[in-house]
């Protein structure tokens, strides 16, 4: 059999080789997608060390479950779902450990965001792309885990309400509420940051 040129091979070919036990092919897949997997873990955990550990755990799980990958989605989507599930599990563990805060209860039941005045300015206007990215990063870090997660899954992973509900083990109504308040809070945070700037 001809030797596989890893760096130029398509993901599908690397996956097939890895499914036969080729760890070099799997290493190439890790090298290609590791930044995205790490970024997804970080966007949910907001902690560098946890993001590294969980992303590496996702790759190990990916290797162990490689036989189950049928190619229904892209390999990148498949491995991203694995890291998302690991992060959700970890967040659930952390939530059980920590005492429910007043803020947390407030967010679950609607909080003050529902009553906030509508933000009229568009955050994408008059800001450089890099600056807007930084501001979004800061604003995201100020959201609760629940609100940030639902936002990340909906906006970045483009998951539907029912998919998010399944992943987060909650109702579609809860997903809709969390998404709504997360967006409203983010709008106000971006507006405040913009006011600070001007």
């Amino acid at each position: 059999m001809a030797e596989l040129a890893y760096s130029s091979a398509e993901d599908a070919a690397l996956v097939r080789a890895a499914q036969k036990g080729d760890t070099d092919a799997f290493e190439e897949l890790v090298a290609r997608h590791r930044d995205k997997i790490y970024a997804r873990a970080f966007s949910m955990m907001r902690n560098e060390e946890e993001a590294i550990d969980l992303s590496q755990e996702a790759w190990v799980k990916g290797w162990q479950r490689l036989a189950q990958f049928q190619g229904d989605s892209s390999f990148a989507t498949w491995i991203t779902r694995i890291v998302i599930n690991l992060c959700l599990d970890e967040l659930r563990k952390q939530k059980r450990r920590r005492t429910e805060s007043i803020e947390g209860m407030d967010e679950e039941s609607g909080g003050v965001e529902r009553q906030m005045p509508v933000v009229m300015t568009n955050p994408t206007e008059r800001l450089e792309r890099g600056e807007l990215r930084q501001r979004i990063e800061r604003a995201l870090s100020q959201l609760s885990h629940e609100h940030r997660t639902v936002l990340v899954l909906h906006e970045f992973e483009e998951m539907e309400y029912k998919e998010i509900a399944k992943a987060m083990e909650c109702s579609i109504g809860t997903v809709m509420s969390r998404l709504f308040y997360a967006r409203r809070k983010l709008a106000s945070l971006l507006a405040d940051l913009k006011n600070e700037n001007s």
Binding site: F26, V30, S43, W63, V118, M120, P123, L132, E155, F180
Partner: protein
């Protein structure tokens, strides 16, 4: 605007409403300025996030990052499962030598019967009782010697202490 209306407006923005509900919300948006403003805010926030996801890179070298994964993979990879011996294989090991003994015994009986006992030939049959897989048939008159050796009897032959000799008729 109540919470249900707010969430419906958001579902409209996200394309999650059935067609009939979506038409109703579109009509409502056209005549309600509060709804229009809230819809605009939600849309702006969504646009701000789309395409502006923070770009992050793993703060470790490729080699170091991979080495930890590889170590875990090697640690967790299950050892090869030993090949199981099937029932058929087990039976075959037992039945083959037994069958050979039966065939040779039958051949001996037929030979004796053929000559009707009128002519007595010196026939010697040696069976190694330690293992029924080793069997010798010798007919002096015919000058025929048949030796059946089968594994593992073949290996044990030299060690076999017990040997029975059937006297020639």
């Amino acid at each position: 605007m109540n919470e249900e209306q707010q969430l419906k407006l958001q579902a409209f923005l996200d394309g999650e409403l059935p067609e009939k509900d979506a038409r109703e919300v579109a009509s409502w948006l056209a005549r309600d300025s509060d709804a229009t403003q809230l819809h605009a805010e939600l849309r702006n926030t969504r646009q701000a996030l789309k395409g502006f996801e923070p770009q992050l890179k793993v703060p470790e070298s490729r080699e170091f990052y991979w080495s930890k994964i590889k170590r875990e993979i090697e640690r967790s990879t299950p050892a090869p499962v030993p090949e199981r011996v099937s029932l058929f294989t087990s039976l075959r090991r037992f039945l083959l030598p037994l069958g050979a003994v039966a065939v040779l015994t039958l051949a001996g009986i037929v030979t004796l019967h053929q000559f009707g006992g009128s002519v007595v030939h010196p026939v010697q049959v040696n069976a190694i009782l330690a293992d029924a897989g080793a069997f010798t048939y010798r007919d002096e008159a015919q000058g025929v010697t048949v030796v059946w050796l089968s594994y593992p009897a073949e290996k044990k032959l030299a060690d076999s202490p017990s040997r029975a000799t059937l006297p020639a008729k």
